[in-house]
Amino acid sequence: MPDDFALRLSRIEHNISGITEKVVEAGGEVAEKIARDELDRVIGSGTKFDSRSTGELKSALGASPVGVDKKGFVNTKIGFSEPRRRRYKAKNEVTNAMIANVIEYGKSGQPAKPFMARAKKKALRLCKQAMIKKFDEEVSKI
């Protein structure tokens, strides 16, 4: 093995945790954007009455900080922050996750609008591309 190549591999190994975090973060950004677009598309669509959406659910959507999960994988999660704003009467009863769940899976009399399932499908390929691009970028810096 050529010396410079071996040296580069060794440098990558030394910096791998930093690279992995940046790569996962890049994938998370793409996934979050797709989830936000999908949520935007379904909120207030096909409702019996005029939508009373305040935009709070959309603003609560975000990606968690990159961290290592129980299985040892570097990971980020797309989800909703809590709690909902205090001025709502139902502040103690309704959470953002609960509302998102009803939109995603529906209820009797309210059809499902599977925005997360769609986002997951769409994000798979685009996240991979973004992560590969970021990895190449980070490796080229070494």
């Binding site: 209820k107 009399g109 059809p111 499902a112 399932a117 769409k122």
Partner: protein, 117 residues
């Protein structure tokens, strides 16, 4: 052939009312609503896709024994060669008395450019 029509005929053969999008009638004691999740083309060659992947969400609502009904539906889907990618019991709706069970199904079809369907 597409997944929605295939699922509709499978569920109708089980004598469960089924509709796509939402149920237009007064809801019976048990019914299924189909909602398309995602369609995707895969396996490209010569700038044309070779496979059409379709996924659909089945929302089963029943006031009776949901375990028996979901088992009937799942067995029928698996027998027909449809892939079940997710199964989830969402709970009992206190206000309406329905049990809600969710099944996500997926199937791969060939891309036939010869017919208009």
């Amino acid at each position: 052939m597409n997944l929605l029509s295939e699922l509709t005929s499978i569920i109708e053969s089980l004598d469960i009312p089924v509709e796509t999008g939402k149920l237009s009638d007064i809801p019976p004691d048990e019914y299924i609503v189909l909602v398309p999740i995602h369609d995707d083309y895969e396996l490209y060659a010569d700038d044309l896709p070779g496979a059409d992947i379709q996924s659909v969400r089945l929302s089963l609502y029943t006031k009776g024994n949901y375990i028996r009904q979901k088992n009937r539906v799942l067995k029928a889907l698996l027998k027909a060669g449809i892939l079940v990618i997710d199964r989830l019991y969402l709970g009992y709706e206190q206000d309406t008395g329905y049990h809600h069970y969710n099944i996500d199904a997926e199937n791969v079809y060939g891309v036939d450019l010869g017919t208009e369907e």
